[in-house]
């Protein structure tokens, strides 16, 4: 049995590593391309959100290249994501891929279901093996994301255009091939070295924070690599969602730097309840970015994404209250690169102009919100 899985940024590195260690046979589908999207759009429900269509395309391409089973993450709602796996299973059955789909339910909500799926996929391994393997794979994934973070923060300072991107490729390759824990540590040291040794030109770069839905943030094909575009325009970029943060939000070693509780507290004056997906983190991170004196925030979301739409309805108010520019970019199969590029450029001009004039997010309001948080009464 050869498993296939959908792409989401660097997630394929983590899964390949994990499956390799657990001795599970797998086939990595070809990288997400226009063909993937076309395939997904052809068979998915028209009004379903974009990630469902893209990942469906990944599955189809994975089966075309010889896989005979699929694995996908489940969920308990209220975001649509929790029902992706079931919907995709039905669609794939309908169009003729009568293959088993393994749905990994969150282990805390459905321990038994999780265990059963695990046993089916890797019959020879015990939960203890899984725990040990995940610990190592996890470390690797975290290190890769830390490199990604470093890249985002360094790109704007590079002397030669494109040198950071080149260095990133080298660094990620280095980490990807490391296997033992010791090797991973060493590779990470070397990789940071590679990134930081890119020749730099120090200047006062404006800062932009990126918030939004995790698939759009993590998959560069979907967001037209807008992080790189911003970096090349000379912006210091930070991203709020990293895969490892997302999977263990309360964790100790956070990459984005804010625990889920902290983010929820920051969001409370504007959105006092979780709404599924990344709705509340989007609000919370936006406020935290303002607190750290960022010059602008960009929200990425798939068309009709419910939690992000709630956030999008509230963001204009935050933008007005805290005096921070916020741009929302919506992605689906109709989105074109030129449109995104134009909007980013216009936003960049706005942010740069504001910085030149010395505009900053309103400190007094942010402090007031911080204190107000304590005595907010839920009516």
């Amino acid at each position: 049995m050869k498993l296939t899985f959908p792409h989401m940024g660097n997630v394929s590195i983590l899964i390949e590593d994990l499956f390799g260690r657990l001795e599970i046979e797998y086939i990595t589908p070809p990288k997400t391309s226009l063909r993937t999207v076309r395939l997904g759009v052809r068979y998915a429900p028209e009004l379903a959100c974009y990630p469902l269509k893209v990942t469906l395309g990944n599955f189809i391409e994975g089966f075309e290249s010889g896989a005979d089973a699929g694995i996908m993450v489940g969920g308990v709602g209220p975001c649509r994501f929790g029902y992706y796996a079931e919907t995709q299973r039905r669609i794939l059955n309908q169009i003729g891929y009568k293959v088993p789909m393994f749905i990994l339910e969150p282990p805390l909500a459905h321990p038994l279901k999780f265990y059963r799926t695990f046993k089916k996929v890797a019959p020879k391994k015990t939960l203890r093996d899984l725990y040990r393997t995940i610990k190592v794979s996890w470390k690797k994934a975290r290190y890769i994301e830390m490199i990604e973070k470093q890249v985002l923060q360094n790109r704007c300072y590079e002397k030669v255009k494109g040198s950071t991107t080149k260095a990133r490729k080298k660094a990620i390759n280095l980490l990807e091939s490391a296997f033992l824990e010791k090797e991973i540590e060493n590779a990470y040291q070397e990789a940071t070295e590679i990134i930081s040794s890119v020749p730099k030109e120090e200047f006062d770069a404006p800062k932009i924070g990126i918030v939004g839905e995790f698939f759009d943030l993590l998959e560069p094909f979907v967001n037209f690599d807008c992080e790189e575009t911003l970096g090349n325009m000379g912006f210091y970029v930070e991203k709020s969602v990293y895969l490892t943060d997302w999977l263990s939000p309360g964790g100790k070693n956070l990459i984005a730097g804010h625990s889920a509780d902290e983010v929820a507290r920051a969001a409370k004056p504007y959105l006092s309840h979780f709404v599924g997906g990344d709705g509340r983190p989007t609000i919370g991170h936006t406020i935290l970015y303002a607190k750290h004196n960022f010059d602008g925030v960009i929200q990425l979301m798939p068309f009709t994404c419910m939690p992000e739409l709630i956030a999008k309805s509230i963001l204009p108010k935050i933008s007005k209250d805290l005096d921070i520019p916020i741009l929302t970019l919506v992605f689906d199969e109709q989105t074109g690169k030129a449109g995104i590029q134009t909007r980013l450029e216009a936003f960049a001009d706005l942010v740069t102009a504001r910085r030149k004039k010395g505009f900053k997010p309103r400190r007094e309001i942010i402090d007031w919100l911080d204190n107000k948080d304590q005595d907010l009464v839920e009516v």
Binding site: G77, E86, C305, M306, I310, I314
Partner: protein
């Protein structure tokens, strides 16, 4: 104190409950007028352009209440049964309204049945206590509200359809060859005459008898929806798919109209699941997607074509 109830979204499900409860604890309840073109336009100004139609209309209803009341009642309905949530938009609704209308006072008790007593009765009691209602008064208000809601539901289960301000029951026109049509759609879409462009009346005028998911008791739709391989985690969609599967499997209808609003998140998935299930029973399904550009002619054409097709199938 005058408290406003926007006539939108979950109002169509829980209005007997909310109205009784608020009146009993001493508010003067003002319900916004039925949806009109003007109201929708008002909503479009304030709401996010991408959001689904019923939420846009809800903004309009809140705007229409703004001058008339001291506060608006928008409970945060997180969950109405232990195992499932409502739509995420209901979770964020009070905050969305707050962001769009900063000057309005909003009362939003959080109803979360996942937390049991603490998340439901206690929240309502605490809410009532804020307005100097005694514990006894608050308790009896909840009891009266539950009683009224039960009576209303009992009427629905008898097959009465609450269109046109809950007055006119419609049971089909006996003079024409009758076909039975199930409407799978949310109460706030199909019972709002403006949003659905009078869909129910159009169907009954053309000799169809209509059933809606509201006419199916919870026990029944729970039973049928639990047949799905994966538990559906949205209560109202579960009701919708459970009711539809009940009609389809028991052969209670000749055809199904799936009414959804454009950009409705849960429905985009559930519609596919339902179509996939209905395929086994060879049941005709027509999806009808509503948005602010829905025109009467378009709906009429589609409804007539669908009914003609059903008649051919049933009486041929």
């Amino acid at each position: 104190m005058r408290i406003g109830l926007p006539r939108g979204l979950l109002y169509y499900k829980y209005h007997p409950y909310w109205e009784t409860f608020l009146t009993e604890i001493g508010f003067e309840v003002v319900v916004s007028p039925p949806t009109t073109r003007k109201l929708l336009k008002e909503g479009l100004i304030h709401a996010e352009s991408e959001i689904c139609l019923p939420v846009k209309v809800f903004y309009g209803h809140v705007a229409s209440l703004m001058e008339k009341v001291d506060a608006v009642f928008i409970p945060r309905m997180v969950s109405v049964e232990g195992k499932a949530y409502t739509c995420p938009k209901f979770l964020g609704l009070p905050d969305m309204i707050k962001a769009a209308f900063p000057n309005i006072r909003i009362f939003s008790p959080t109803i979360n049945a996942k937390k049991g007593f603490k998340g439901y009765y206690r929240q309502l009691l605490l809410f009532a206590r804020q307005f100097e209602a005694s514990a006894f008064k608050a308790f009896s208000a909840i009891m009266a509200a539950e009683k009224n809601q039960k009576q209303y539901m009992a009427q629905l289960y008898k097959g009465i359809i609450p269109v046109k301000n809950n007055k006119i029951p419609s049971n089909g026109n006996p003079n024409i060859d009758s076909v039975k049509v199930g409407i799978a759609g949310h109460a706030y879409n199909i019972f709002d005459d403006y949003l659905s462009v009078g869909l129910i009346k159009k169907l009954t005028d053309r000799g169809a008898s209509v059933v809606t998911p509201e006419n199916v008791p919870q026990k029944t739709w729970n039973k049928y929806s639990s047949k799905l391989p994966k538990h559906l985690f949205w209560t109202y969609e579960k009701e919708l798919i459970g009711a539809s599967l009940y009609w389809i499997e028991e052969r209670l209808i000749d055809g199904l109209i799936y009414v959804m609003s454009f950009a409705c998140g849960p429905d985009s998935i559930v519609q596919y699941i339902l179509e996939d299930e209905a395929r086994k029973y060879n049941m005709p399904i027509m999806p009808l997607i509503l948005d602010e550009h829905a025109g009467e002619a378009g709906i009429v054409t589609r409804v007539e074509a669908f009914l003609d097709m059903l008649r051919k199938k049933v009486y041929a």
